[in-house]
């Protein structure tokens, strides 16, 4: 029995359609990560789930009760969940009261409030701040208080809207640690949004990719990251090489995909003549100065077009009839003496390529 079920949910403001036909369900104890580019509608969906706004279309069921419309049902459901907002604000009172207020609203007994609030503050490492005016807290401290006041009510469903965006690495790991702790300790369901795909992958059981208000793909984390079903998802999960082509030849599992400026061998279930995209992760491509592909089926000669250094990694664009992106360490780039114009060889295995259908 799903704790949360969403059916054909749509949201529009005036003429602007923000969300279209969202369907999902969340079981007890399940952690769902919603990823998607900025402006794709993640926060909008969050607010619908937290029952802060009403949808233009569709229904929301919490614990199998339809909570789309009736205010009394919505309040009852809302009191069993809590949301850490993307940009949380605190009330003009001290830190302790900010954490305790949700319990007071639920009519929890006084002595029990004290115990729970202190425990929650302790959990996020803010026990010493209880008497501070909450308005004077820093951004990261405010984020922790927002987490504490969400956890203190022991929700059945915890909603986290970008819980670690704009935080330094230390605060991120502190918050992630707390989230992981509560997921393990209490059997609560978590619905979180994140820009950080690694975070989504690590913390969640299920990932949904929301692009332009549409849930383009939903599934296990590694499914999403290794087998995106569309160009948009592939782009979003960081697959830099997306080549449009058609299946030219089919030999058992092995297919030749004709792309602009060449052909590559891939493993694919598609038939001859079908329009496809070939997806290749840059880290699956080997770059060398001599033609030595080993067992790789795809070996191309090419010229370095562009070199972009990002920290300790270097993104290299090679023109081998079609452009391919390769990632190397800064070290090996220097050791190999790679510069723009260097003649290189590119190789990758047929199994490193993911072929997906291309519409129109």
């Amino acid at each position: 029995m799903a704790l949360l079920r969403i059916e054909n949910l749509g949201q529009a403001y005036k003429d602007a359609v923000i969300l279209t036909d969202i369907n999902l369900s969340l079981e007890r104890g399940e952690v769902f990560a919603l990823i998607g580019p900025t402006g794709s509608g993640k926060t909008t969906l969050m607010k619908l789930i937290d029952l802060l706004t009403k949808p233009s279309l569709g229904s929301i069921y919490f614990d199998e009760v339809d909570v789309t419309e009736a205010e009394s049902d919505r309040l009852a459901a809302r009191r069993r969940m809590s949301l850490v907002q993307q940009k949380p604000i605190v009330f003009n009172m001290n830190v302790y009261d900010n954490v305790a207020v949700g319990l007071r609203w639920r009519g929890v007994a006084k002595n029990s409030i004290r115990e729970k609030a202190e425990h929650a503050l302790d959990l996020v490492g803010m026990a010493d701040y209880a008497h501070r005016d909450a308005k004077t807290l820093s951004g990261g401290e405010t984020q922790r208080i927002a987490l504490a006041r969400a956890l203190v009510i022991q929700p059945d469903l915890l909603l986290l809207d970008e819980p670690t965006a704009n935080l330094d690495p230390n605060s991120v790991s502190k918050i992630e640690e707390v989230i992981e702790h509560v997921i393990k300790e209490h059997e609560i369901s978590v619905f979180m949004t994140t820009h950080d795909m690694v975070q989504g992958q690590r913390l969640s059981h299920k990932v949904g990719v929301l692009i332009d208000g549409q849930m383009l793909q939903m599934g296990k984390p590694d499914e999403i990251f290794n087998a995106p079903q569309s160009k948009e998802v592939a782009e979003f999960v960081g697959i830099d090489n997306i080549l449009a082509g058609t299946i030219e030849k089919k030999d058992g599992e092995l297919a030749d995909v004709k792309v602009a400026g060449g052909a590559i061998s891939a493993i694919s279930g598609f038939e001859k003549g079908e329009s496809v995209y070939a997806l290749i992760r840059p880290e699956d491509i080997t770059l060398s100065l001599a033609r030595d592909g080993g067992s790789a089926r795809n070996v191309f000669g090419g010229v370095i077009n562009k070199i972009i250094t990002l920290g300790s990694l270097v993104h290299i664009e090679v023109d081998c009839g079609f452009p391919l992106f390769v990632v190397l360490t800064a070290r090996s780039t220097i050791d190999m003496g790679l510069v723009v114009g260097t003649q290189v060889f590119i190789s990758f295995k047929a199994t490193a390529i993911k072929v997906i259908r291309r519409w129109s």
Partner: protein
């Protein structure tokens, strides 16, 4: 010129010797206006909340009407109250005319639009995220309203002080329905206007100084609240 100077000297003597007449008039003024203010506050906070937290047709018309009433002339309110509570008026049987109660009723009517309007804009001034966060944390409609009122507390206190300032300084209304009766309904403004006519300059100046002091304190308080809000 010497008349003013003598008046000033004697006025300070009256103030610093805590002259019983000066003190009783000032005290009466303070408690009457304070009572008006408390009653108006007790009405305006709930009423302002009802208006602010609900959406209904004609809401913006209602709010702008309230704002128009801010500048109601005191004598007009005086006349209205007079007509209602004079012996032949609909509330004549209570015998309220020329009593402190009559002044309080008039002052409440006079300052309520101002305070109501300021309460509404104080509530409006609270970040929408406060309401949203409260709802998200499980507040009912009433709990949310109470929280928003608390968040607006400084602006609401400003409204209260503004109302008090207008009540304590108006003269036309108190004169008309209070009657400026010695030791009963005589307040600072009515006493000043009467004593000045009688040539009792030092008493007028003393009361005037006290009124200015009250105004000063009000302004300092307002200023401090404004700073606190920011």
């Amino acid at each position: 010129m010497s008349e003013i100077w003598d008046g000033l000297v004697q006025a300070f003597q009256l103030i610093f010797t805590f002259d019983s007449e000066v003190m009783s008039i000032a005290g009466r003024s303070l408690w009457i206006s304070a009572a008006s203010c408390v009653i108006a506050t007790a009405m305006c906070i709930p009423l302002g909340s009802v208006i602010h937290f609900n959406n209904f047709r004609g809401k913006s018309f209602l709010v702008s009407t309230i704002q128009t009433l801010w500048s109601m002339p005191t004598v007009a309110v005086g006349l209205l109250v007079f007509l209602f509570i004079s012996r032949s008026g609909p509330l004549g049987m209570f015998g309220l005319l020329f009593s402190p109660t009559a002044i309080i009723i008039g002052q409440v009517i006079l300052i309520s639009p101002l305070m109501l309007g300021m309460v509404i804009s104080a509530l409006k001034g609270v970040d929408k995220l406060v309401s949203e966060t409260a709802v998200s944390l499980g507040a009912s409609r009433v709990q949310k309203a109470i929280l928003v009122i608390k968040e607006a507390r400084y602006a609401i206190m400003s409204a209260l002080i503004m109302g008090f300032g207008r009540a304590i300084s108006e003269v036309g209304l108190s004169l008309m329905v209070g009657g400026n009766i010695y030791q009963y309904t005589r307040t600072i403004p009515t006493a000043i206007s009467l004593e000045t006519q009688k040539g009792n300059i030092e008493l007028s100046i003393a009361l005037g100084i006290i009124l200015i002091l009250i105004a000063l304190i009000i302004n300092i308080a307002l200023h401090m609240l404004q700073r606190k809000k920011a």
